[in-house]
């Protein structure tokens, strides 16, 4: 297998995730797009780990999975709090910090 096929797949998924983060206004959809981005990074890490025949790629992919789980927990709690306060999870309306 060519290394580049995994890297290009990860790059395409990364771009799709970036599109989702930028284009969607629903808070939960933004979190899902961030998950797509993190998965593409994981594919890169594991591909380079297999290429170098070294376990570091897999270890860091596991760390990324753990941090992503923490991120989703906190993110959904924040989205829930925004919904409870404003009855909407449209992120363009969450602009209280804007001067």
């Amino acid at each position: 297998m060519i290394l580049n096929q995994f890297l290009l797949l990860a790059a395409i998924l990364f771009c799709i995730g970036v599109y989702g983060v930028l284009a969607r206004r629903n808070g939960i959809m933004v979190l899902m797009s961030v998950e797509i981005i993190l998965n593409s990074v994981n594919i890169n890490l594991v591909a380079f780990g297999a290429f170098r025949d070294h376990v570091a790629g897999e270890v860091f992919a596991l760390f990324v999975i753990a941090v992503a789980a923490a991120e989703v927990g906190i993110g959904l709690a924040i989205v829930l709090l925004i919904y409870r306060n404003r009855r909407s999870i449209d992120l363009t309306e969450a602009d209280l910090l804007k001067g």
Partner: protein
């Protein structure tokens, strides 16, 4: 350095990798289509279900790359836990189970432009750097090697991640709790 392995792969295993490449292609197409559907669909529940396909495809790619432990963890943590968390979040925040009328708008054009530009730049860089590099997977990485590395070389990072998970758990409870 890798030229010997490369020649060996090309000579002996050139058509041995055909099945792997076919599987890679099928899974990659499924992943890309599902990811596009996930970020463009109107229904948030459907988006979560498309996300399941993307995550399962990533697990399949990990198995193709010979790292089954990451694949199993991916299925357990992502498809088992995170998707359920997303579905609960959708149920708690969306009144009519899903329809999201916020798709589109003027941001869509700029976002698409940014994504395409980013893709072109990364694609050119990758093709320029790694166009003839091959991955040769002789045997899958064993669980033992990965856990040895985690519990010896990366033990500090491992402990930090466990503290981070605890902090995130407590933080999520504190943030989402009713007064």
């Amino acid at each position: 350095m890798t030229s010997v392995g490369l020649l060996g792969a090309a000579a002996s295993g050139g058509d041995l990798f055909v099945a792997q490449n076919v599987f890679f292609g099928v899974i990659a197409v499924v992943m890309i289509v599902s990811a596009i559907r996930c970020v463009t669909t109107r229904n948030v529940v459907h988006a979560a279900l498309w996300l399941v396909l993307v995550l399962a495809g990533a697990a399949a790619q990990f198995i193709l790359l010979g790292s089954e432990f990451v694949a199993v963890t991916q299925v357990l943590v992502y498809i088992g836990a995170i998707i359920v968390l997303f579905l609960f979040g959708i149920m708690l925040t969306t009144a009519s189970m899903g329809d999201d009328d916020s798709v589109g708008g003027e941001k869509r054009l700029m976002a698409g432009l940014v994504a395409v530009l980013l893709g072109v730049v990364m694609g050119i860089a990758l093709i320029d750097s790694y166009s003839d590099t091959r991955v040769v997977i002789d045997e899958p990485q064993r669980f033992g090697a990965v856990s040895d590395a985690i519990f010896s070389q990366y033990i500090v990072a491992f402990e930090a991640v466990s503290v981070l998970l605890l902090a995130a758990l407590i933080g999520a409870i504190v943030v989402a709790r009713k007064e």
